[in-house]
Amino acid sequence: MERRVFIKNTAASIALLSMGLPISCKNVNSKKITILHTNDVHSHVEPFGPNEGKKSNKGGIARRAALIQNLRSTSPNTLLFDAGDIFQGTPYFNYFEGELEFKLMSMMKYDAATIGNHDFDNGITGLHKQMPHAKFDFISSNYDFKNTILNEVVHPYKIYFKDGIKIGVFGLGVQLDGLVSPEYYKETKYLNPVEITQDITNILKQEKKCDLIICLSHLGYEYENQNKISDISLAKKTKNIDLIIGGHTHTFLEKPTQVLNSAGETVLVNQVGCHGIYLGKIDFYFENKHKFFSSEVIGV
């Protein structure tokens, strides 16, 4: 009798163990978040034609949409971002003023984009006019839009939740002076990217307790002039960023560059050329630091 009770209870405990613990803790122990991204698509809606040199027959939004759909089916916890310069480059932009680009990105379920210099090509009012077509967030931390039509339309940062993982995203834009006519960007103020990054990442890390911090950047990958801020120099000068998704310089990287930040931690810097020819994909695996799991189970 006693033996029977013992077996029954042990069985119940094991059942509890196998139901409750391994399932809930397996999730905590290893989670996968997939980050997909584009940059500098420049209104390339259709694939390149057959006589376009290296770009021949590549790209195209309908194909990208199919790829994204495939990837989402194997990685349900996926976020999709763009690092700016969505606009300008084909007659689709000249003719439809960005409406189609935003609608297609919404259909592909983009989560957020930052703003590139060419996104001002129909002026700040032209950008604002198309925003109702975008069912995704616009994030920019170092463009102060307070005295413009984009005030409170563009977010300084956003936090996304995927499988219990908290992902903080902020955005950085390139200096507009000399690149975009002042009559286009109007009262937009460009703020120092390094200072803004320190402030925002402190909020995201300390206050909001984000598990992953991503910067959508249109600063450019790297410049000969070391004083000009770039993704590489930003990564070195700051801390708390896990991944910089870059744009502007149309730099194609085979794989992300690893840079050590001011705290000696690794930052990934990625950029996928331009015109929607590549899709960047980074899987982050989250594992629990404290491995109670194996030792305790052996104890039982």
């Binding site: 163990l17 613990l21 195209g60 194909r63 199919a66 790829l67 006519s181 989250f286």
Partner: protein, 251 residues
Amino acid sequence: MRLNSLNIILLIFLLFSCNNAEYTKKNHAQNILIDSDLKPNLEIKSFIEPYKKELDSSMGKVLSFSNQTYTKSDGELNTALGNMMADAVFELTSPIFKKKYSVDIDAVLLNHGGIRSALSKGLITRESAFKIMPFENEIVVVKIKGVYIKEMLDYLINQKKAHPISGMELEIEKNGTPKKFLINGKNLDLNKHYFIATSDYLFNGGDRMDFFKKNKEYYEINYKIRDLLIDYFELKDTLNISSDNRFVYTN
């Protein structure tokens, strides 16, 4: 007794292991090429279709008229089509640049290879402009030292190609010896600075025009060459263009 302690261990285990939210992060990255191996998403494809149709019909918009068919191989060192392009850049860039920076442009240099199609006799449409200039290149104005203008001159003489120029006159002997060179109507002054309008492609070292890159000072004016051509065609009822003496061999 034994069961209780087992349950307590389980409880402690639950509390500790599942409330902890500090992670170590690992990653794996792959940048994926989008090419014809990927079957397009049909919903997206059919969504694009009406936009594409509307766009295609707008490409048929008539801008001007051409009495003749012009190609980039019509002449040896200058052609009507190339001259038209360089002159269009000069004519339409000059006032914008002057208004912005209060400086005049001295000359224009484009590249022969940048003329991607002939201009056919008959109606000139938006599509004609897209065919001649399918690329997204924009005009930049580069401030160039006289010594590098000399390098530009050497480049033109060496190449003996009908690279489109405007604002310059160059006469050379068959062996390449220059007989005459004028820029903005004057002889070259090696100590002076000149403002040359070109494309961002050439400024960035395209066609080995390395003399551009040696100059740090340049101005973007956010004007695509194609848009400039469309605007130029719209200004002209009938196009009246020809080859001339801007770059020739001495007789």
